[in-house]
């Protein structure tokens, strides 16, 4: 690829808009009065080399238009994803294929069929985010490298064409240019400009590091995206659910069998009138006494397994600590956190029945059935015994009309008993469910009379471990640093040059021209030098045909 040699002798990469060193426009600027100072006129490489397929891919991602398009598409998709609830928020037993159509009609059906029901985890959404990441990396690289190069190589002495095409530009006639330049040099240094002098010309510059702000910001974003990506690496991110009934000790999922938890008690409290500050009475009256939740709490004991981990084996446990898990007050240990997220009150645990003579009502003993582990046979003595033929913890009739169970949780227990008595040695069969009894083989003499239900509360906890948080934190911090760096500092440059016995002053900043103009005014105050004019403003005024008064 050919390079372009400027008349000042500096060799520029192909595609450079104006010489890196002296600033002489290399491309035909035509009638344009002002130079486009973006990226210092440097050649963005993607715009100059498009030979191989790699170069073409590079050029595609280097385009800010492509980047903006990707962001807009992602924004629109994200917005659509909020119109109807995501699949994880619809009732867990609902079939999404039916649910969306039933709830939201045709729009819901379309929503489901186009895959918006699980948008944020869909492959194309993740791909979009990933493409934004790629665009970010390539856009940044493609601009920061040439910009760095151009700013590093900029010469002090600039070509007159460069100076007169700056937005702030003025010409002064002075008797003693040496003195004026010396004064300016001193004043610029006082304003904390970094001043370079060459052949009696000045280049004063400050705040160049502000130019790196956007790129620092992008590095932060990329680190953030890497953190998000790491969540899919096994072990980095754990998010598991755990249901634990009162009184039970269970393995904590996601800990590889190393930790166990015992629930001592689940507590659910509401605001009660009379017990709270009087100021709350009105609010309690409005919603109803005992209707506003005050506290969800699980009192737990954390245990660590001692010795080798073999799943299923009776674990040897060592107590670690006791803790009360409340909403937003998780139990933290070894990088894990256990959050209170859900509960079930009064889940059946055991049921009692009395073997009763239907006619006389006489009872022959009580059967106490553990709903999680019922016995096969209960002997009541004196020749009375009850056999449990079948047990359905979550009873329903299946498609064929046979009794069956929906799950292993005893939400709706049902039993098939065979009752033996001295006068019924062959036994009588009885099907018992909540609120109903069926005697399949005719009229029985005995029945199993319901005698009590033992319940307990169950806590729903979330087990969370996130090793990506600190990466996300660092990414976020760098993002903010970049933002501040780019927003609160300006890159200002002032050129002072002797041209044909005149003193030319030009100035440039990447933002806040108002501030630069004020600074220039202070610098030139009392020197008798002409304040450079803002030629962009002048141009606007000229176009408005002299009606420049009024709004600024």
């Amino acid at each position: 690829m050919e390079q372009v040699k400027c008349e000042c002798g500096h060799v520029n990469p192909h595609g450079t808009a104006f010489c890196e060193s002296c600033g002489k426009p290399l491309q035909d600027v035509g009638e344009k009065r002002l130079l486009d100072m973006r990226y210092e006129g440097s050649a963005r490489r993607s715009q100059t080399y498009k030979r191989t397929i790699i170069d073409q891919i590079w050029a595609f991602f280097s385009s800010v238009k492509v980047g903006v398009a990707l962001i807009v598409i992602t924004l629109i998709a994200s917005a659509i994803g909020t119109i109807f609830p995501q699949q994880m928020y619809i009732p867990p037993n609902a079939d999404p294929a039916e649910y969306y159509e039933k709830q939201y009609g045709l729009a819901g059906k379309l929503y489901y069929e186009l895959g918006f029901n699980n948008l944020y985890g869909s492959w194309w959404y993740i791909l979009l985010i990933a493409l934004i990441g790629v665009s970010l990396v390539i856009c940044s690289l493609d601009r920061v490298v040439p910009l760095y190069r151009a700013l590093k190589r900029q010469g002090v002495k600039r070509h007159p064409h460069f100076l007169e095409r700056q937005r702030l530009f003025g010409v002064s006639r002075v008797n003693d240019p040496d003195d004026a330049i010396a004064t300016l040099k001193e004043r610029l240094a006082k304003q904390r400009y970094h001043v370079r002098e060459e052949d009696g010309h000045l280049l004063a510059e400050k705040g160049r590091f502000s130019r790196w702000g956007p790129y620092v910001n992008h590095i932060g974003l990329i680190i953030f995206l890497i953190g998000a990506m790491l969540r899919s690496v096994p072990g980095m991110y754990i998010d598991r659910a755990m249901w634990i009934p009162e009184g039970e000790t269970k393995e904590i999922p996601g800990t590889n069998g190393r930790y166990f938890l015992k629930s001592e008690q689940f507590i659910f409290e509401t605001y009660q009138k009379g017990k709270e500050n009087e100021a709350f009475n009105a609010a309690i009256d409005r919603v109803g006494n005992g209707m506003i939740a005050k506290n969800y709490q699980t009192n737990v004991v954390l245990y660590k397994r001692v010795g080798p981990v073999i799943a299923g084996a009776e674990p040897k446990l060592k107590k670690v600590k006791e803790y009360a898990i409340r909403v937003n007050e998780p139990l933290k240990f070894d990088g894990y956190a256990l959050y209170q997220v859900d509960f079930r009150l009064g889940e059946p645990k055991a049921m009692s029945f009395q073997l009763t003579d239907k006619r006389s009502g006489a009872s022959f003993g009580t059967v106490h059935i553990d709903l999680y582990n019922p016995k096969e046979e209960y002997d009541l003595g004196r020749g009375y015994r009850v056999k449990l033929l079948s047990y359905f913890p979550d009873f329903e009739f299946d498609e064929d009309g046979n009794p069956s169970t929906k799950s292993r949780v005893p939400n709706n227990p049902a039993f098939v008993f065979k009752m033996y008595a001295p006068d019924r040695p062959k036994g009588e069969t009885s099907f018992v469910a909540i609120q109903q009894t069926i005697e399949p083989f005719g009229d029985n003499k005995y029945k199993m009379a319901f005698a009590g239900l033992e319940t307990r509360n169950v806590s729903g906890l979330t087990v969370r471990r996130d090793f990506t948080l600190w990466i996300l934190g660092i990414g976020g911090a760098i993002f903010m640093i970049g933002l501040i760096q780019g927003m609160y500092w300006n890159h200002r440059r002032v050129w002072v040059q002797r041209v044909n016995g005149e003193l030319w002053i030009a100035a440039h900043t990447n933002k806040n021209w108002f501030g630069l103009k004020n600074e220039l005014r202070r610098l030139l105050d009392g020197t008798g030098l002409t304040m450079p004019a803002d030629r962009l403003e002048e141009g606007k005024k000229a176009r408005q045909g002299g009606q420049a008064h009024g709004t600024a």
């Binding site: 990506m229 590889n256 799943a311 299923g312």
Partner: protein
């Protein structure tokens, strides 16, 4: 920068980015959401069967193990268990064991189920969900095919036909 050098740098950067994007997509959509990956060693466990006999997975080294997680309420399990029962004696002779892990139901329910279908292969009950957690089993049935070296060869979720089961048993013959 030289043209050649530029191409190398660009290719390298694009490859790194492609690898990162590819990995994310792969890890999210093409791997099983189980703790046990294909090719890794199946976590050891010890559970008791309906006859009170203990079964430890590591004792089965040298044999293929067809490890099936099931529940009595799961209809696909009901369908495939008789097929497993048919193949069990055939493949036991050839060094492949069938081990069914029930997901912590009452022993009574499991026993009645086994009696009803006349199941002869060992059925163990994971009372405490420890094995379920170790294998991070989601939907039922889920089957892990374990080879003679204790490595997971394949993970199957969902129902299997009789022919599927034969093929799977065949694939883990020692």
């Amino acid at each position: 920068m030289k043209k050649q050098q530029r191409l190398v740098v660009r290719t390298a950067i694009l490859l790194v980015l492609l690898a990162a994007v590819g990995y994310t997509i792969y890890a999210n959509f093409f791997t099983e959401k189980t703790a046990v990956a294909v090719g890794s060693t199946a976590p050891d466990f010890v559970l008791t069967d309906l006859n009170g006999q203990k079964h430890r997975l590591s004792d089965y080294r040298g044999k293929g193990v067809f490890l099936n997680f099931w529940g009595t309420w799961c209809n696909p399990c009901k369908r495939e268990m008789p097929y497993m029962n048919d193949w069990y004696p055939v493949y036991k002779q050839q060094g492949v064991e069938i081990l069914a892990v029930n997901v912590g139901e009452p022993k009574l329910s499991v026993k009645k189920f086994a009696e009803r279908f006349g199941l002869t292969f060992p059925i163990v009950i994971d009372q405490e969900d420890q094995v379920l957690n170790a294998y991070n089993v989601g939907p039922l049935p889920t089957t892990f095919l374990i080879d003679k070296n204790g490595k997971v060869k394949q993970i199957i979720t969902g129902t299997m036909t009789k022919e599927d089961i034969r093929r799977h048993l065949e694939s883990i013959k020692p």
